[in-house]
């Protein structure tokens, strides 16, 4: 298709990179996929899959001293668990400037597959209101796309990835292409019936998630076995990951070259042609430098890493990134606020004869109900939030010691249900990621420095979530209703977005409606960095949809000779 060694280079192999590699190779392009992490092969490199706690070092709990020294950020993504640690970034070896600026938890993976191996798998569509919010309330840039532009691509990726859920007909949370949902337990159905009756308009639905309930034999994948140990890796391929889904598809084309341990440091740019002409790498083991060349580049390194690479790609003789003609590169950094929780118990004796068999890999969801048809009269904040949770019946508390305690631990306590509130964070132009002026990592790349804070709107929204949450639990008839709000620290939700935001105007945005850099149309930025706002729903499915859409467009443009 071209005179280059590769038609396309995909930087990163997580949710977005995997999709880019699959789509581009299936459309006939010779693709080089680069990842800074070590190789993890499906199944063969899941060492703790199916092991009991007694078979894991320290019964599965990473020693705290090691967590503190090496996993101070990735602990919030699961690195405190032995079985997950190996998929996470070592923050000592690969640091960011975490002690400078307000606290930001940059949770990074450390392997090929990226966070697709360890993600929460919640797969929800942005709704029409999400793509209109910036334009309506004036925060951030108006999205250059609307729900209708993305909807077919949601369907496309959902069908292939295998998303379980139930159609509900809610306009703010559009239905998708679903396999049957994982069944609710009795605490969830009990609460759903009573909540929806007591508070019309509120819905408690199955969480839509990338754990399959039907086999996909054509992909060599089986349905979920209810182990709920997903983040150790799943040889059944029951949940969406690069290893189980997109990498096998890309490899099957024979058009893919995958190189692990390749740290992309910057992009080589030709201002005369306004093209990126090379991808500069350092081998993580040998530290050898190389520049790979291709006609087009998909930048899918993860939101903050893609920002870091772009920021480090300077115009010759300048301190400024070639991609930053607008002055907005690294701005509008967002994450969901998510440390408001609420819960309650079913009244004593309710379903006391029933327990859970198996471990459900997902739960239930209360879709956004605030500020839907314009601003609610009693809401002192813009936009809204959704509540993710689940019902559960835990073991009775340990009372005393000895035979009576042991016997007591053979019984279960009350059924309970609890939720986390996930709130949309407004795009603020002064929430930034920049390059630290002096600190570099072991590859000589300036460390990422975050100056990101949640503001009054997020705080008021989270307080409302606690109030509304308690009200919903009480209305449903739950007892021991309780809510708590912990400090919301950006990065915690691991839903970081923005920095290379989409917009119509190259003077105010970094990427266009097809995820292309305004300053280099042969570069497509399709991870979270191009997102112009966050919605309140988990974003990975949206990254998949944008990536597939951009790949389709990229191939059309290449074939037309436009890029």
């Amino acid at each position: 298709m071209s005179d280059y060694e590769f038609d396309a280079i995909v930087i990163g192999s997580g949710v977005s990179g995997g999709w880019a590699a699959k789509e581009l190779t299936e459309k006939g392009m010779k693709v080089l996929m680069l990842d800074r992490g070590r190789m993890v092969e499906h199944s063969a490199d899941y060492p703790y899959e199916g092991t009991g706690p007694w078979e894991q070092p320290y019964r599965g709990q990473t020693p705290p001293a090691l967590v503190e020294s090496d996993y101070y950020a990735s602990r919030y993504g699961g690195a405190a668990q032995t079985a997950v640690k190996g998929f996470m970034n070592n923050d000592r070896l690969n640091p960011y400037a975490f002690k400078d600026g307000p606290e930001f938890r940059w949770v990074r993976p450390g392997t090929v597959g990226g966070k697709s191996l360890t993600w929460g798998r919640v797969s929800l569509r942005f709704g029409p209101q999400d793509f209109e919010a910036n334009g309506k309330d004036g925060h951030g840039n108006d999205w250059p796309v609307r729900y209708e532009d993305i909807a077919p691509w949601y369907s496309y990726v959902e069908s292939y990835a295998g998303i379980s859920g139930q159609k509900e007909g809610l306009w703010q949370l559009p239905d998708g292409e679903f396999q049957p949902p994982h069944p609710m337990n009795v605490a969830e159905t009990w609460t759903k019936e009573r909540l929806e009756k007591a508070m019309p308009g509120r819905k408690l639905i199955h969480t839509r998630c990338a754990n399959m309930t039907e086999d996909k034999p054509e992909q060599g994948r089986s349905r979920c076995q209810s182990r709920s140990q997903c983040n150790r890796g799943c040889s059944f391929g029951a949940y969406f990951s690069t290893q189980a889904v997109t990498l096998p598809a890309a490899r099957a084309t024979n058009n893919l070259t995958l190189l692990a341990d390749q740290v992309v440091t910057s992009l080589e740019y030709d201002p005369k042609t306004k093209r990126v002409t090379g991808v500069r790498t350092i081998d993580a083991n040998s530290h050898a430098a190389h520049t790979y060349r291709s006609r087009i580049v998909f930048l899918c390194a993860s939101t903050m890493a893609s920002n870091q690479i772009l920021l480090n790609s300077k115009l010759e003789g300048s301190d400024k990134s070639f991609a930053d003609s607008s002055g907005t590169l690294g701005r509008y950094v967002m994450d969901h606020a998510m440390l408001t929780t609420f819960s309650g118990n079913l009244p004593e004796g309710t379903y006391s004869d029933l327990i859970e068999y198996g471990r459900k890999p997902t739960g239930v969801y209360i879709p956004r109900f605030r500020n839907l048809k314009g601003q609610d009269a009693d809401a002192d904040f813009l936009r809204g939030y959704g509540c993710q949770g689940g019902g559960h019946r835990g073991v009775s508390g340990a009372v005393g010691f000895g035979a009576s305690m042991k016997e007591g631990l053979r019984t279960y306590g009350a059924w309970s249900i609890g939720f986390n509130v996930f709130g949309e964070c407004l795009p603020y132009i002064d929430n930034t990621v920049t390059l630290h002026p002096t600190k570099v990592d072991r590859f000589g790349v300036p460390q990422a420095l975050f100056n990101v804070t949640f503001r009054e709107n997020e705080r008021k929204m989270m307080a409302d979530g606690a109030r509304q949450g308690e009200a919903m639990m009480k209305a449903a008839g739950l007892v021991n209703v309780w809510s708590e709000e912990k400090p919301h620290i950006p990065g915690d939700a691991i839903h970081e977005m923005g920095g290379a935001c989409m917009g119509r105007d190259p003077r105010t945005s970094v990427t266009n409606s097809w995820n292309q850099l305004h300053e280099a149309h042969n570069v497509f930025v399709t991870d979270g960095s191009a997102m112009a706002s966050t919605s309140c729903v988990n974003p990975s499915l949206t990254f998949m949809a944008f990536t597939a859409r951009a790949a389709d467009q990229a191939v059309k443009l290449v074939k037309a000779g436009a890029i």
Partner: protein, 191 residues
């Protein structure tokens, strides 16, 4: 269908079945469980305790989770687990707190009965641990017994015996049922 397998074929019942088949001479942890006395057995890679401290830890662990119709803490190698965690996992402050709590328990036995804790009767041991739990034991740091108790509980229920003999272990449940009768198992599923 393989994934629709009945719960009765879970791991715990599998082990029990093996036991029945081989006439009680079973897999190592079960055999150890049956033979376990007060010998704490296994010594961790990075030894931390003296032999006396090991005997004390074993005796306290076994009173917190005794052998009943299922194996207790010693059979589940909880004492060795505690030593390993103290030596390799814990921060110094927590380690010292737990060790001081253990010392206070031993001192109480010496004071009341003139013998180490490991050498007094189970009834005398329980009386001392009752004082420890009520935080009325002289010289025991606040919450040291609770810390120790939680360590025993964690060590036991994360052990192979705890998961597969005391509890019901489902490595591959194959399905989820959120309305499953407790009477089908009369036990807790290991998580």
């Amino acid at each position: 269908m393989a994934h629709d397998h009945d719960h009765r074929f879970d791991r715990r019942h599998f082990l029990t079945g093996i036991l029945a088949m081989v006439g009680g001479v079973a897999v190592a942890p079960i055999a150890r469980a049956m033979q376990a006395g007060m010998d704490p057995g296994y010594i961790p890679a990075t030894p931390y305790m003296t032999d006396d401290q090991r005997a004390l830890t074993a005796a306290v662990s076994e009173r917190i989770i005794p052998t009943t119709d299922t194996p207790g803490a010693i059979a589940a190698e909880v004492p060795a687990f505690i030593e390993m965690m103290l030596s390799e996992w814990y921060w110094q402050g927590e380690r010292d707190m737990v060790m001081s709590g253990l010392s206070a328990i031993d001192a109480a036995a010496q004071k009341s009965h003139g013998k180490p804790f490991a050498a007094v009767t189970p009834e005398q041991q329980d009386a001392i641990l009752t004082l420890a739990q009520a935080q009325t034991l002289s010289g025991a740091p606040a919450d040291s017994f609770e810390h120790l108790r939680q360590l025993v509980i964690f060590g036991y229920y994360s052990s192979e015996i705890g998961c597969t003999v005391e509890r019901v272990y489902l490595p591959v449940p194959g399905r989820y049922d959120g309305a499953y009768p407790y009477s089908e198992v009369n036990r807790v599923f290991a998580s």
